[in-house]
Amino acid sequence: MSHEVPYIGAIMEAISLEMARDESVLYYGQDVAPNDDHDLVKAFGRDRIRVSPISETAEIGMAVGAALSGMRPVVELLMAEFMLVAMNQVVNEAPRLRYMSGGQVKVPLVLKAGFGFTAGWSGQHTGTIYGMFTGVPGLKVVVPSTAADAKGLMTTAIRDDNPVIYLHNYLLTLEHGDVPDGEYLVPFGQAAIRRQGGDVTIVAIGWEVGLALKAAEQLASEGIQAEVIDPRTLAPLDLDTILTSVEKTGRLVLVDQATRHGSFSSRIAADVAEYGFSSLKAPIKQVTALDATIPYSEPMEAFLLPDEAKIAKAVHQVLGSTPVAA
């Protein structure tokens, strides 16, 4: 049985179900239920649902401390870039403590934040910075692209014994989708093949998955069959599924809302270039945001970001028609 809810609703559904299932689950953050007639407050009380000051360092550090003593906090951080003011807690404390303690302690917590709000939010609220977390041993990074995954991955994130960065794309907030009723888990490290195809592999992350699928339909009308893969979790990354697909197609296009230089898609490109060397028939092409801060004005914003046309163009390039050299 399933029901239809918006992406954001699916996330809250998972949090609420887990809070009911396990009383060690906490949910707090800025502007989380400031008044008492909020459903979560009614259901779980003020102790477990808390509104906190604008103190990211303290909010996240507190979550680490609470996790060390047996809680499973979910911290609402609103926007991924706000984590930048608390990066020491995210990078130097949460993912390190288990390791440095020789495995004595564990730090089960979820840092929930929206990202990629490329809708006129200008330079400090639009960043797609998951690449910064994927290079940090000890952290797991989750980027759901559908309502069902949003629920299933949140459930898994809350039950995971490690710090998990749960990033939901703001542009997907109100996208409705079918979501399984009741308890629902999506395992980490398992990519989803959103569309089968034999000519080219497209790996897209978050919001870009939808764009890739639209582009794939357009290409299909030209007789090009694209396989579209959604990694769903970036750390751990399901490289096998990508490599298996590239073995079949020999061609890879990566679609990423982040800026190109030092991006996560560069990391996928590097892995495939190395481990899939013998299968590659053409250079891997990346369709990413251009290397600039996201500008405020709409035409400039659109110019920087990936779109269906750019994806289709890249596919044509790897299929050999147009020259590739950067």
Partner: protein, 340 residues
């Protein structure tokens, strides 16, 4: 109490009115020209007295930095409102060429070094500007404006300690509107919860802390002027809590593309169902109050006041027209200015 001459008093009133009218037009744009403003805007209506009263103390060469609720300062400093509106509309002739938008206005030519979109993060930068001023030794002072929420950021504590330690020429003005978006101060601030004025935080850095009624421009002027004088004299920073009431919601609706943006009801009503609080604030609206005061004490004739109002209305209408008429930037320009 400082005696300001009539022209200065009228200047203060005019700036308050210009800020109010400009922001009214920003707000109305969401209804009259849907889709023209994207992203997030934040209005300072209710804080005009605090803004202008503070800026009235500045001399040429002084500088200021603010938070993302930043329309008022450049207006009072003399930035062209046409360019400001064009920026908020994302147009080529905008103050920042369409790169920044409402949260990131900058105009160094009038001493406005800019604002940060991240709560509390302009505080260290303003502190650095004051550090530069101290080294330059030209008697410059820096004003730094931020909200009550920012005082729970580490950046606030680190910066005030530094400024006090180094006796930097800066005045920190915390505009306390009692809400962090939809959270009331007493829900997130230990001092507020204990019923104390937030200026007590200054104790932690051994700097003076003063709390003032931010709806009275002259009261603001007196206190800020003293703090500015102290800073100029090399005696160090001051923390001023200026109590204001934000008459609009935190900002326009936060929604993904496609959903029409507009200003929802103020959080006092929308979240806490407290209409009395909001209506009381409306009754205390500093702009009409100050006009009444100037007219009553004969500083300003009601004819002159109406004339000023008419001029301001025309100016802001012109700003809107200019903004709408201005073309969008060339998309390719998006790669400019990544590096100097």
């Amino acid at each position: 109490m400082t005696q300001l001459d009539n022209d200065r008093l009228i200047w203060i009133y005019t700036q308050m009115l210009r800020i109010r009218e400009f922001e009214e037009r920003v707000k109305r744009t969401f209804e009259e020209h849907p889709g023209v403003i994207r992203g997030h805007t934040h209005l300072a209506d209710g804080a005009e007295a605090s803004i202008v009263g503070s800026l009235a103390t500045l001399k040429p060469g002084d500088q200021l930095m603010a938070t993302y609720r930043c329309h008022g300062y450049p207006i009072a400093l003399g930035t062209d409102t046409k360019k400001m509106m064009a920026e908020i509309y994302g147009r080529r002739d905008g103050l920042c060429g369409g790169y920044g938008g409402s949260m990131h206005l900058v105009d160094p030519s009038v001493g406005f070094l800019g604002a940060s979109g991240i709560v509390g993060q302009s505080i260290p930068q303003a502190t650095g500007a004051a550090y530069a001023a101290q080294i330059r030794k030209q008697g410059q002072v820096v004003l730094n404006f931020f909200g009550d929420g920012a005082s729970k950021q580490g950046a606030f504590a680190e910066s005030l300690n530094l400024a006090s330690l180094w006796k930097l020429p800066i005045v920190y003005i915390m505009e306390n509107n009692n809400y962090n978006v939809a959270t009331r101060s007493e829900q997130e601030d230990a001092n507020a919860a204990a019923g104390e004025p937030l200026s007590v935080k200054a104790k932690a850095y051994s700097m003076p802390g003063v709390t003032i009624d931010g709806t009275d421009p002259l009261a603001v002027y007196d206190v800020v002027e003293a703090a500015v004088a102290r800073a100029r004299a090399g005696e160090g920073p001051t923390l001023i809590e200026s109590k204001v009431y934000r008459l609009s919601a935190h900002g326009n609706l936060i929604a993904p593309p496609g959903v029409p943006l507009h200003y929802p009801e103020h959080e006092a009503i929308a979240v806490f169902g407290n209409r009395e609080e909001y209506d009381a604030a409306l009754r205390g609206d500093p702009v009409p109050r100050f006009r009444m005061r100037l007219v009553d004490d004969g500083t300003l004739s009601s004819d002159r006041a109406d004339a000023i109002a008419a001029e301001v209305t025309d100016e802001m209408q012109a700003a809107v027209d200019f903004g709408l008429a201005s073309p969008f930037p060339d998309p390719e320009r998006a790669l400019d200015f990544v590096y100097a």
